[in-house]
C-alpha cells in the first residue's frame, strides 16, 4: 500500500527529528523551571521592585503571541551573541514557558498552609530552611499536574522554532510535505508522533505524581 511505503520512507527521518524536538523541549522546560522558580520568589517577595519585575516578566510572556516572542528573542539574542538556532530557540521557549511556570509555582507555594511554615519556624528553622525543607517539597508535589500540563504545551509549542530554522520534527514535516506534495499524509504522520509523545508523557507524569505522594498512595491502598 502506498501509505505503508510512505511511512517507511519517513519513519526514521522523523524519529531523528523527534530526538531534536525532545531535546529542545526538555532543555527549554528545565530552564523554564529554574526561571519560573526565580520569578515565583520575586513575585512572592515583599520587595515591591521585585514584584514589579516579576509582574512585568510574567505579563510579557503571557501577553504576547509565542511566535512574536520567538522572533523577537531570536533576532534580539542573535544581535548580542552568536548562538546556534537550536540554542536561540531553546532559550526563547524557556523564556516563554518560564512565565507560566512562575505562576504555577507561585500558586503552589502560596497554597501551602501557613501553619506548616509556623510549625517549622517554631522548631527554630530559618526562613530559608523552612522554604527548602518544608514548603518547596510540598509545593512541587502539588505543582506536578499543572507543570505536566505546561510541559505538554511546551512540547507542542516547540513546533514554532521550525520558523527559526531548527530542523526538529515540524520543520522536517514542512520540508517533506513541500517535496512530496503529500501534506495530508505527512502531517498526519508527524501529528501522530506528537500525539504518542504526549500520551507517553502524560503517563510518566501520573507515575511521578504517585511516586511523589507515597503517603497518599499507601493511605488509599
Amino acid at each position: 500500500m502506498a501509505f505503508i511505503s510512505f511511512v517507511q520512507e519517513y519513519f526514521w527521518g522523523f524519529l531523528l527529528a523527534t530526538r531534536l524536538t525532545l531535546l529542545l523541549t526538555a532543555v527549554s522546560l528545565a530552564l523554564a523551571v529554574v526561571i519560573g522558580l526565580v520569578f515565583a520568589f520575586l513575585k512572592i517577595s515583599k520587595n515591591p521592585i521585585a514584584n514589579l519585575v516579576a509582574a512585568g516578566y510574567i505579563g510579557i510572556t503571557r501577553g504576547m503571541p509565542l511566535i512574536v516572542q520567538l522572533m523577537f528573542l531570536y533576532f534580539g539574542i542573535s544581535k548580542l551573541v552568536v548562538l546556534s538556532s537550536f540554542w536561540a530557540g531553546t532559550l526563547a521557549l524557556a523564556f516563554h514557558a518560564g512565565g507560566y511556570v512562575a505562576e504555577i509555582l507561585r500558586g503552589a507555594i502560596q497554597n501551602i498552609d501557613k501553619g506548616q511554615t509556623e510549625a517549622a519556624r517554631s522548631l527554630g528553622m530559618s526562613r530559608r530552611k523552612t522554604m527548602a525543607l518544608i514548603v518547596l517539597p510540598q509545593a512541587f508535589r502539588r505543582a506536578v499536574p499543572p507543570l505536566g500540563n505546561q510541559f505538554i504545551i511546551g512540547l507542542k509549542d516547540s513546533t514554532l522554532v521550525a520558523f527559526l530554522g531548527v530542523p526538529e520534527l515540524f520543520s522536517k514535516s514542512m520540508t517533506a510535505a513541500a517535496a512530496n506534495y503529500r501534506p495530508f499524509e505527512t502531517y498526519l504522520m508527524s501529528g501522530t508522533y506528537y500525539l504518542v509523545l504526549v500520551i507517553i508523557f502524560t503517563w510518566l507524569v501520573s507515575k511521578l505524581e504517585k511516586r511523589l505522594s507515597p503517603d497518599r498512595q499507601e493511605a488509599t491502598s
Partner: protein, 242 residues
C-alpha cells in the same frame, strides 16, 4: 530568674487591638494554664512568646534576656521553645520518624543516628513506638498530636507552648494527649497551656490565667480561680465551661 517575663505586652492586627497590656511571669518548671473565651487573645499571647507574632508594645524576657524581634536571633530563641498547634501541623511529606528528626538534624546539626535514637525514645514516651514509619495521613488525630509533641520535644526545649491541642480531637482521643502532657508536666517541664480542659487545669496547673478581651482578668492557683473566682467575668466564663 524567671523563665519568661512579659511586661506591658500589646499587639494589634491593623485596627484590631488584640492584646491590651499583658503582664505575666512564668517560672522554671511551672505549668501555666491560660483559659478564657474564644477571641480573647490566648493564641496571640502564646504566639508572641515565641515571636511567631511580633509585639507592638512591651517587653518579653526569656531566661532574663530581653528579646528584640528586630535584632535578636529569633531562630535561636525558638529552638529553646517547643510549640504544639491545634491543627497538628505535622509535615505530610515526611514520615513520623523524619518529622521528629528533621529539626535536630537540620537546625542543630545533630548526626542523624543520634537524632533517630532520640526520636525513637520520644516515640516510646508518647506511646507510638510502632508508628515510626507511618505517614502523618495514616494517623488518628490523637496520634498526630502525640507525634507533634514528640517533634517539639526532640529539640530539647526549655519550655513547651500548647495551643488548644485537644480542641480538634474527637472526644475519645483527648485523654491520650492529655496523658502525655501530664507526664511531661510531672517530669518538670515548663509549660504554657491554652486549653478548655478544666480537669487538666485543676489537676496540673501551678497557675491559672483567665483572659478576656486582650487582658488578664484574674490569675492564681487552680484552687483560687476555680473555687473562689473574684471577678465576675471569670465566674461567668467558668459557669459556661464547667
Amino acid at each position: 530568674m524567671s523563665m519568661i517575663e512579659i511586661k506591658g505586652l500589646q499587639k494589634s492586627f491593623g485596627d484590631l487591638h488584640v492584646l491590651k497590656g499583658i503582664d505575666l511571669t512564668i517560672e522554671l518548671g511551672q505549668v501555666v494554664v491560660i483559659i478564657g473565651p474564644s477571641g480573647s487573645g490566648k493564641s496571640t499571647l502564646l504566639r508572641c512568646i515565641n515571636f511567631l507574632e511580633f509585639p507592638n508594645e512591651g517587653e518579653i524576657r526569656v531566661n532574663g534576656e530581653l528579646i528584640d524581634p528586630k535584632t535578636s536571633n529569633l531562630d535561636k530563641v525558638r529552638q529553646h521553645m517547643g510549640m504544639v498547634f491545634q491543627q497538628f501541623q505535622l509535615f505530610p511529606h515526611k514520615n513520623v520518624l523524619h518529622n521528629i528528626t528533621i529539626a535536630p538534624v537540620n537546625v542543630k546539626g545533630m548526626p542523624n543516628k543520634k537524632a533517630v535514637a532520640i526520636a525513637r525514645d520520644l516515640l516510646q514516651k508518647v506511646g507510638l513506638p510502632e508508628k515510626e514509619k507511618a505517614w502523618p495521613s495514616q494517623l488518628s488525630g490523637g496520634q498526630k498530636q502525640r507525634v507533634a509533641i514528640a517533634r517539639a520535644l526532640a529539640m530539647d526545649p526549655d519550655i513547651m507552648l500548647f495551643d488548644e491541642v485537644t480542641s480538634a480531637l474527637d472526644p475519645e482521643l483527648v485523654n491520650e494527649v492529655l496523658q502525655v502532657m501530664q507526664d511531661l508536666a510531672a517530669g518538670g517541664m515548663t509549660m504554657v497551656v491554652v486549653t478548655h480542659e478544666m480537669g487538666f487545669a485543676k489537676e496540673m496547673a501551678d497557675q491559672v490565667v483567665m483572659m478576656d478581651d486582650g487582658l488578664i482578668v484574674e490569675q492564681g492557683t487552680p484552687e483560687q480561680l476555680f473555687e473562689n473566682p473574684q471577678e465576675e467575668r471569670t465566674q461567668a466564663f467558668l459557669s459556661q465551661v464547667l
